[in-house]
Assembly symmetry: C2
């Protein structure tokens, strides 16, 4: 007998949860569409070369690789696993989009506002709350060098979260050039910057002490590491963030851009805090200037994030600027569940119970009738309910409710109770 | 510079086509829902053991396998590729569903009417029209031994195709037990039956001569092979199919079931030919009795098919009957395209063209206004149109139209033409 569990770290999605997921995807999709984004889809599998395009950092190490097939697979002469694989599962939607744009740009408008919703895969050590297949919902604007792209992405993502019924989140905006100016002013050695940024990105998950240790490990003196963290935290707590950044040597062009993005996003969205947060870094190497995160007071980590990655497309031979935002679909659904927010609309679900030896035609006729009336109709031969009438049915309805379904559940018994009756249970 | 092409045999989906695909998925999804099917989702990756569950025949050989990771990968001691892999990409949705049901059945209604729509993967030799990642749309009823399951599946699939705007297709129904009775009557050696059925399944693609050669290769004498093909073709051309099958030794129980399925499906669907076709086999080993195919006069191969697979769940330790139907999503979309059938609804797409140095606030304000009015609004800084005004925009609109989009395309120019004007292009 075969083991029936899903592959380690992946999960099955039951009907009630799937209803919620599909309603959430539909909400994000229609919002992005209204904001002019065009949806594209790339394969789940990409060539190993495309996936190894640098800038994806840690994610490249977490790739699931696919074994070569047939004659291409030469086990006897394989010196390393690299000789055995020619493809892998995508670990994000950004690298595939860059490849997509490079090959299809002549058929696309410019700038190109793209949307993608789909599964990505990371071979993380399986642990609670960390999935190896999960959905991302990305929006990107390719070919627009202006900060208008940042504004449009933040406005669209905010609208999508509102459409999902999420309120009370914050948009946190920063610019890596501002962080680099502070590092320069404090005379942090440039050779360590990359590692320092990766360490700073962990401030929302790790303790300040652990982050300081990582900065020291990157080659920064302990005293300077402490000073850096204190300086950045001080900015964070001050009111005049932009003025404080100016006093630390951040250039006017960067500050003006940050101010413009914040101002225009504030004007365009309702009920949402929009702030400059000097501690936002984002972990990926490919971000070049703007970076942003979406946070919610009820959730420890960000529920979305993105930034400008003007260099990534160059790896595929296209010199176009690019900016994107990714919604953490799984986290957002978990947060909505915790907050008790319902996604999707309720429907009427009807089960027709009948005697299959005499009433098939009548049951099918009634099913047609109620389907036309908008009911979601299931036919159920009465022997399936005979031993403990209605019990299985009621159980299934309860399970669906427990998973988040808002549907109402009805049943109609033909013949058995003499006259057909429509009952809610 | 990196190669920008997708992985061999897979393809990118551009915006216009994606619109059509999503509309088609929505149509199938809502139809199956009305028919009481509950949607589930399983991971794209399954354990190698689950995928090797026998009965999937050729498809198992076409599996993409995933390399083990970290310490589990022992290249030095690997005797065969099997030692290097622990998972693979699913090649259909049926084997994963059987696994899903085995692990989750206590939380599911019984019988369980399931629906799945998602990508499957087969490492076929890349060739025109044959994709290595493609979408299947499956409906299955688990736990229902009666032919009511067959009727419900065929009714729901027909309704889904009608919802897509497809007309003029045929439902062809057969029972493997009928074929086996004919083989028994003609004294075809039982040891060859499995290979003979696989050969007969190719009658719609290969010539009768090629099929006869394959039957001979399976260990059947040439004369008998010719007689078998002639006998089956004769039935196919006669009017009284059920009577002819009876005269060839097919049992009453099988014939009554075939008649009941055909009668009840005919009563439930409109404008669709429903016939018993003794030549329908289906290639997969796991089918045990009913088998069906959906065909269309404008398409050489079937556009959907399925049958009863009462044994498959047993491999995962569950003894429940099962029956399913799979729509060939890619073929159906190609057919709809050839027939000129439009899927989805038209929307108004608006591009706002503005001067980004002075009109950002005004452009954002107008975008909010028109989004509330139901337009899909794109903001476009006028310098992107300056060199050849409107040309890029018109080109993009044409591309979307060519791919199947039914949207109307408008633009609004702020400032540049003095007063804002709404123009169609």
């Amino acid at each position: 007998m075969l083991q029936a569990r899903p592959f380690r770290g992946m999960r099955d999605i039951l009907p009630g949860e799937q209803e919620v997921r599909l309603a959430a995807i539909a909400a994000i999709r229609s919002t992005y569409r209204e904001h002019g984004f065009l949806e594209v889809e790339t394969p789940v599998v990409e060539t190993i070369d495309a996936l190894r395009a640098s800038g994806a950092g840690e994610n490249t190490k977490l790739m699931f690789s696919i074994l070569k097939r047939g004659e291409r697979l030469d086990l006897a002469h394989a010196a390393s696993p690299d000789d055995l694989v020619d493809a892998g599962l995508r670990f994000d939607l950004t690298v595939p989009l860059a490849r997509f744009y490079a090959v299809n740009q002549s058929k696309l408008p410019k700038p190109f506002a793209a949307m993608q919703i789909g599964p990505v895969f990371r071979a993380e050590r399986p642990q609670r709350g960390r999935l190896r297949q999960f959905v991302q919902a990305d929006a990107d604007i390719l070919g627009e060098p202006r900060w208008l792209a940042e504004v449009e992405l933040l406005v669209a993502a905010t609208a999508a979260l509102h459409r999902l019924g999420l309120e009370g989140f914050q948009l946190r905006i920063n610019d890596r050039r501002a962080l680099e100016a502070v590092l320069r002013r404090l005379e942090v050695p440039p050779s360590s910057w990359r590692s320092v940024l990766v360490a700073l990105d962990k401030l929302d998950k790790a303790s300040p002490g652990a982050v300081r240790d990582e900065i020291v490990a990157a080659g920064v003196e302990a005293k300077l590491a402490g000073h850096l963290l204190a300086t950045l935290s001080d900015i964070d707590e001050q009111d005049g963030t932009l003025a404080a950044l100016a006093s630390l040597g951040v250039g006017d062009d960067v500050l003006e851009q940050l101010a413009a993005i914040v101002d225009h996003v504030r004007t365009s969205v309702r009920d949402t805090e929009v702030i400059v947060d000097p501690l936002i870094v984002r972990g990926l190497d490919y971000y070049t200037s703007s970076v942003f995160e979406i946070t919610h007071p009820h959730w420890g980590t960000s529920i979305g994030g993105g930034g400008r990655y003007d260099g990534l497309l160059g790896q595929f031979g296209v010199s176009e600027p690019a900016c994107g935002i990714s919604l953490g679909f799984e986290r957002i659904l978990a947060l909505l569940g915790e907050l008790g927010v319902r996604v999707g609309e309720a429907r009427r679900r009807l089960t027709i119970i009948f005697d299959p030896s005499t009433e098939v035609a009548e049951a099918l006729r009634r099913a047609r009738h109620f389907r036309r009336e908008g009911y979601l109709v299931t036919l159920l031969a009465h022997e399936h309910t005979a031993r403990s009438p209605m019990k299985r049915l009621a159980l299934a309805a309860e399970e669906l409710k427990a998973e988040g379904s808002q549907d109402s559940f009805w049943h109609l018994t033909i013949g058995i109770d003499e006259a057909p009756r429509l009952l809610m249970h």
